[in-house]
Structures are given as structure tokens and as C-alpha cells.
């Protein structure tokens, strides 16, 4: 009987993942990952409630459960990166990094050390073995597909991974949980970055990085107000600028880290927000077969954005030039760009430089 370790978060998705595997006859072990210590002065931490749910669900399903602590690894590999990116004026994606360094690396190794044959998670994604290799496929629920966050996985990981709910719609997952009477059936989906949770993002970040207020200017140099610190803003952002006056609303279009200036412009569709090419770094290919010639595929520059047709060319082992057939709004350095071919997720990288009409948009950062 193959042994599967299921990464359980205390949410409905991983609960149902564990249930389905158990029903399929696997030797299932549920493990809760504790990656962040947010214990308050009263000794209360939000992880406790989630772990309690894991305990209840595992007892309902009839599988053993444990917890594992990756706080140190998470701090070193994910949180440090997160802060560094903000310091550099970029908008990081800690979920991508968490999947790469923690869930499908440290945790995968832990699962293997427990004699597991597979690691399963409650991600909305699928794995298929085709043409002699493992392919990462979009989850069938188009609205929930999470391959965007899994773009850094490769053959070594996919050969060990099961995504039991990748074939399901979210509504079906809830239905299964409800029918089985799982404790998490009605639990609200978590939102936001895992370690910040529902807290005030600005306040959280200010605990770790000094905020340096500065001027908000148009690219022409007209001062429009003051900002609270560049790290609090991301490209395309409208809220929280506090610029009054007539006309269309104002948006963040860029950052000048050296002079601590936040660039703003008027109008949702302001041209300054648009680009047509990027350089992506840290590019990972799910397949071992990297393309040596330019290829046509589609790309996402943000989670849940529609795909855009692009041409992609590898410049070196991990760097790609990506040109879009149509202009895209608010492509943001630090965020992930993920490539697709139909239902197949090819891989992805980090948006590093942004271009329009062959010119680098230095104001973007």
C-alpha cells in the first residue's frame, strides 16, 4: 500500500484531498506545517486553530496526524526574500517561494523521511505523465487554478506529487466535505499572504522595514502629495493615494528608489501603466527539455489574470525575454510570470525588467 503524506492546512481543500486519498486506499498521513510563529503575548497563535481543525478532520477520516515546524527555513528562504524584494522596491510573491522552498522542498524531504511514496496537497492543479515526462496541468476549476503558484516545480517534485482535488470544482470539494461531515466543510477560505493573514499589511511590514515617507510625483516632476514609504505601494494601485482634485483617479505607475519618489499618473488606462515585453529571471521549466528556439505560448503576469499570447526566448539558462502580442497593464517587477501551453503550465519566472516599444521602463523599477 503506497504511503502518502498530505500537507494539511486546516482548510477544506487539503481536508478533502486527504479524504479522497484515504477512500482510494492509500496509507495516508496528515501533516500540518507550522511556518510562522505569530504567538501573541497571551500565548495564542492562529496556527493553533488551524491545527485543531487538522486534528478533528484526521480523526474523522481515521488517519494519523502530526505537525512539523519549518519556521527557521521559512524565515531564511521565504521571509528574507520577501523583505529583500520590498527593500528593492519590488512586489514579491511569497506563495511561489513558499511552494518552491518549503512545501515542495523541505516538506517533501520530510515526507520522504517518513517513508512516503508521495506528497499530496490541496492545490487546484493536476499532474499527468505524457511523452515520457511529468506535466503540470491547470486545475479543472478555471477560477481556482493554482498552477500560477506552482511554476517553480520540476520533474523531481512532480514525480512525487499528487493533487487529489485538481480534477474537481471548488463547489464539488465543498459538497464532498459536507457529505462526509468534515469539520472544515464550512470553513472560510483563507485570504491574503499566509503569515500576515487578515492583519493590516502596512502595519505588519512596518514592523520589519523602516518606512521612509517621500514625495508623490508625476513623471513630469509635478508634486502630487506625499507617500508613506515606497514599499507600501504596487504598480497599478489606486487606493490609498489620497490625491484629490478633478478628473480621473490617480494610479501608481512607478517608483524611484534612489530619490524615494512614488510616480503617479491619472486614469486607469494611462499609457504609462502599459508594457509589451519583459525580461524574466529565475525562469524554471517544468520539463527537463528547455526550449532553445523562441516559442509561442501564453503567459499570466498576475494570479487569475486572463492569459496573454507571448513569444518567449531564453537568453541564458534562467533568463527569458518575453514579448506580448498585446499591451498588458500593470506588469509588476517581483511578481511571477507564468507560461502556459493550453492546459499545460510550462514554468515561469520573476518579472525583472519591463519594456514598451523596445524601451525599458526604468520608472517601473
Amino acid at each position: 500500500m503506497a504511503r502518502v503524506v498530505v500537507g494539511m492546512s486546516g482548510g477544506v481543500d487539503s481536508s478533502v484531498a486527504a479524504l479522497l486519498l484515504k477512500q482510494q486506499g492509500y496509507d495516508v498521513i496528515g501533516i500540518f506545517m507550522k511556518n510562522w510563529d505569530d504567538t501573541d503575548e497571551n500565548g495564542v497563535c492562529t496556527a493553533t486553530e488551524d491545527y485543531e481543525d487538522v486534528v478533528r478532520v484526521c480523526n474523522q477520516i481515521g488517519i494519523p496526524y502530526y505537525a512539523v515546524n519549518f519556521e527557521k527555513q521559512y524565515w531564511e528562504k521565504v521571509f528574507t526574500y520577501f523583505l529583500e524584494e520590498y527593500k528593492a522596491g519590488r512586489t514579491p510573491n511569497p506563495d511561489v517561494m513558499c511552494n518552491k522552498e518549503i512545501k515542495f522542498k523541505a516538506f517533501l524531504e520530510h515526507a520522504m523521511a517518513l517513508g512516503a511514496d508521495y506528497l499530496a496537497t490541496g492545490h487546484y492543479a493536476r499532474v499527468a505523465y505524457r511523452d515520457g515526462e511529468y506535466q503540470l496541468l491547470r486545475g479543472l476549476d478555471a477560477n481556482k487554478d493554482q498552477t500560477y503558484f506552482l511554476n517553480q516545480l520540476g520533474q523531481a517534485q512532480l514525480s512525487k506529487v499528487l493533487f487529489p482535488i485538481g480534477e474537481l470544482q471548488k463547489s464539488q470539494v465543498r459538497e464532498i466535505a459536507k457529505e462526509a461531515g468534515l469539520a472544515t466543510a464550512g470553513k472560510k477560505d483563507s485570504t491574503g499572504i499566509c503569515f500576515i493573514g487578515e492583519r493590516n499589511f502596512k502595519q505588519f511590514l512596518s514592523n520589519y522595514l523602516p518606512a521612509q515617507p517621500g514625495e508623490m510625483q508625476t513623471l513630469g516632476g509635478e508634486v502630487k502629495g506625499t507617500h508613506d514609504g515606497l514599499m507600501y505601494y504596487t504598480i497599478g494601485q489606486r487606493h490609498g493615494l489620497g490625491i484629490g482634485g478633478s478628473g480621473e483617479p490617480w494610479f501608481v505607475v512607478g517608483k524611484n528608489l534612489k530619490d524615494n519618489i512614488l510616480y503617479v499618473a491619472q486614469g486607469f488606462d494611462n499609457e504609462l501603466l502599459y508594457s509589451d515585453a519583459i525580461i524574466a529571471t529565475n525562469v524554471n521549466w517544468v520539463s527537463d527539455r528547455k526550449p532553445h528556439e523562441p516559442i509561442s505560448c501564453t503567459a499570466k503576469f498576475r494570479y487569475r489574470q486572463p492569459d496573454v499570447p507571448v513569444t518567449l526566448e531564453m537568453i541564458d539558462e534562467t533568463t527569458a525575454r518575453v514579448s506580448f502580442s498585446q499591451r498588458v497593464r500593470a506588469v509588476t517587477p517581483g511578481q511571477a510570470v507564468v507560461f502556459y501551453h493550453g492546459e499545460q503550465c510550462l514554468g515561469g519566472g520573476t518579472i525583472d525588467q519591463v519594456f514598451r516599444n523596445g524601451e525599458r521602463l526604468t520608472y517601473v523599477g
Binding site: K34, C45, T48
Partner: protein
């Protein structure tokens, strides 16, 4: 696949001895009266209660009126420390304890710190021990209580209780010891040891959960912290847990009778384990003093392993052991005891497992467990 599970976590809790169950049952069925009642039903249980109190007193060389039954070791520790602190706060506000106490003592002291008391936490050496000299130099005129555990629950290391007791004879501070792990395995005479307060728990010695006692030497000033009826000479209100107390009595009697025999057997268990690890070529070390330890606790560092993976593997192999204490989110926090002994950076902090022996363990079980443990450690360190 049928797997005989092996329980090596008796320091966490222990199975109730069949004779204990047998002794308790009539006090749930036939003799259910309230010991404070003046009718015959009450007298039946009152008699059992008095007998139990007498028995418990005898096991430590105390008098019956010096025994206060509690809901367990934690309550006994709380009552001892908070009770003495509150009753004597006009005389002084200084408390001495160690950094390796059970949380029942540590967190009680932390609570008192918030109430304005001054607590000295004595550090231990790499053997897990404190010295009498440390206590001596920490003592102040305003020290009201010194609380030092008898034998450590994680490493089994024994503290120099006798010498500390001698030292404190010439000081006004009361001497409390948490003897939850030592009781039943080590002969204890409170008079000879100079102990003023001593905590005992039933479920560590094959008695039922939810009962224990605090020995309070006659004359010790103690403020109760559970108010209600006048049970336990007003030191602990609430109708007595008669079945539990009868069970504790039986468990204590059995523990006293088998003390020497258990000691020999558990020492043999330790040798079997360590010899197996040796023969299997495992990189290990025993945590704590080599000989000055309780016989039923063996805390071992398996270098190169991660305790979270190790414990899960042991559990999946049917072997129950433990390490440190689980945080509320299930993950294992580094043991404060090992941190106190070896520092935060030591490899031992994240690679140590506590095995603890008890009723029902056999040589065959320990042999098989030792072999399986070695196999798992080898697999985990191979990568």
C-alpha cells in the same frame, strides 16, 4: 498488518494497574457517599479517605494531616508555590527555582513575577544539575520559598535534594520539591530530607488521572486558592475525589512494594537500549548525568536526525516516545530542559528523544524497540 505497539512514554502518563481499577470500582458503585456527610454512606467513604491519607503519609514519612489531596501534580505545585507566596508575602517576595522545572512550577513562578514577586531561576550544568552552592548564594533574607524538582521529567536527572534540605534548615525559606517523577521509584523521607512541601501525581505511577497530593509540613503557612467547603482542612475545597484517592492509595502501595524490583528492571532496559545503539553503530549520547538519574527515564540525542521526523517514524513503527513539549499548533518546541543544559545551538536540542519505562514493559519489547529505533535512526542519517 498487525503491529504490537510499544509504550515507552510512561513519564507522560501510565496505564492504570488492574489492581488499582479493582480497588476503585467499589467506590464508584457501592461506596459513593460524600465523605463530609454525617450518615453511614458518608462514613464509609470518609473511612476510605482517612486510610488513604494515612497510607500516603507513610510512604514519605509524614503525618496524615500533612497530606492535601489535589487534582494532580500541577495543582499541587500551584498550591505549594502560590499558597506559600501569598501567605508569606509580608515576610518576603523572593522565590528560588531552577530553569529545568516542569511547566507547572515554571509558569506558576512566571505568574508570581507578574504579581510582583522576584524569582531567581538557577541555571544547570551540562549534567542537568544545580549545586547547593548555587542555592546558597541565591538565598536572601526575603527568600520565602525554594522550589527544586526531585527528578527531572525529561532527563530523569536528580537534584541534590538532601543537601539543599540541609542548607535550608538554617533559613526561613520553605523547601518545596516537585516529586512527580521520582515518587514511587526513589525512597523519599520528607523529615530526613528537610522537605516542607512535596508534590505527587497519581497517573505517573499507574494510578488514575485527575488526582495527586501535596505534602504540607505542619506549621507551613499556606493560603488556599480554591475556596468552598472545608475539605482538606480548608486548604483545598471541593468534594474529595474518593475513587481517585483510593486508586492513588493502591497505586502508591504497589509502587512502594515493587520499588527495588522496578529499579533493577529499568536499569536493565537502559542497558539493553544503549548496548543496541552501540552495536548498531549509531552516533548517540545520553542527555543528563550518567548515573545520577531516575531509572525509568532515558533521554538520548541521535546526532544527525531531526526529532520531528524521528518521532513520527517511531510512531508509525508503533513505538511511543516523546520529546520536549508540543506547542498548541502541534509542532515540537525545543525542550527548555535541554536548552538549559546544552544551550540553544546544540545539536542535541533538535535530535533528542525521551524514552520512559513502566508497568507492562518487557525485556522483549525493549529489545525490539531498541532495534527498530536503531534501524530508523540509521535510515534517517543515511541521506
Amino acid at each position: 498488518m498487525y503491529l504490537e505497539r510499544i509504550y515507552l512514554d510512561h513519564a507522560a502518563t501510565s496505564p492504570v494497574h488492574p489492581e488499582v481499577v479493582e480497588a476503585m470500582v467499589p467506590y464508584m458503585t457501592t461506596y459513593f457517599g460524600n465523605p463530609s456527610s454525617i450518615h453511614s454512606f458518608g462514613r464509609e467513604t470518609r473511612r476510605a479517605l482517612d486510610e488513604a491519607r494515612e497510607t500516603m503519609a507513610k510512604t514519605i514519612g509524614a503525618k496524615a494531616n500533612e497530606i492535601v489531596f489535589t487534582s494532580g501534580g500541577t495543582e499541587a505545585d500551584n498550591l505549594a508555590i502560590i499558597g506559600v507566596a501569598m501567605a508569606n508575602r509580608e515576610r518576603g517576595r523572593h522565590i528560588i527555582t531552577t530553569s529545568v522545572e516542569h511547566h507547572a512550577v515554571l509558569n506558576t513562578c512566571k505568574y508570581l513575577q507578574k504579581q510582583g514577586f522576584d524569582v531567581t531561576y538557577l541555571p544547570v550544568d551540562e549534567h542537568g544539575m544545580i549545586s547547593v552552592e548555587q542555592v546558597k548564594s541565591a538565598l536572601r533574607d526575603d527568600t520565602i520559598i525554594v522550589s527544586i524538582m526531585f527528578g527531572n521529567n525529561e532527563t530523569g536527572v536528580l537534584q541534590p535534594i538532601h543537601d539543599i534540605g540541609q542548607l535550608l534548615r538554617d533559613h526561613d525559606a520553605y523547601f518545596h520539591t516537585d516529586a512527580v517523577q521520582a515518587y514511587g521509584l526513589i525512597p523519599i523521607h520528607v523529615g530526613e530530607l528537610g522537605i516542607d512541601l512535596l508534590s505527587v501525581s497519581s497517573h505517573k505511577i499507574n494510578g488514575p488521572k485527575g488526582v495527586g497530593f501535596l505534602y504540607v509540613r505542619e506549621g507551613v503557612r499556606l493560603t488556599p486558592h480554591i475556596y468552598g467547603g472545608e475539605q482538606e482542612r480548608k486548604r483545598r475545597a471541593g468534594t474529595e475525589n474518593v475513587p481517585g484517592i483510593v486508586g492513588l492509595q493502591k497505586a502508591a502501595e504497589l509502587a512502594q512494594q515493587t520499588m527495588a524490583e522496578k529499579r533493577g528492571l529499568y536499569e536493565q532496559f537502559q542497558r539493553i537500549m544503549l548496548t543496541t545503539f552501540e552495536q548498531e553503530g549509531i552516533d548517540y549520547a545520553v542527555n543528563g548525568h550518567e548515573t545520577n538519574r531516575l531509572p525509568h527515564v532515558l533521554n538520548v540525542a541521535f546526532f544527525g536526525t531531526n526529532v520531528e521526523a524521528l518521532l513520527v517514524n517511531l510512531d508509525l513503527a508503533g513505538i511511543a516516545a516523546s520529546s520536549g513539549s508540543a506547542c498548541t499548533a502541534g509542532s515540537i518546541d525545543p525542550s527548555h530542559v535541554l536548552v538549559a543544559m546544552y544551550g540553544n545551538e546544540s545539536d542535541r536540542i533538535r535530535s533528542s528523544v525521551r524514552f520512559s519505562f513502566g508497568y507492562g514493559n518487557t525485556i522483549e519489547q525493549v529489545e525490539r524497540a531498541a532495534y527498530d529505533i536503531a534501524k530508523i535512526v540509521k535510515r534517517l542519517t543515511k541521506a
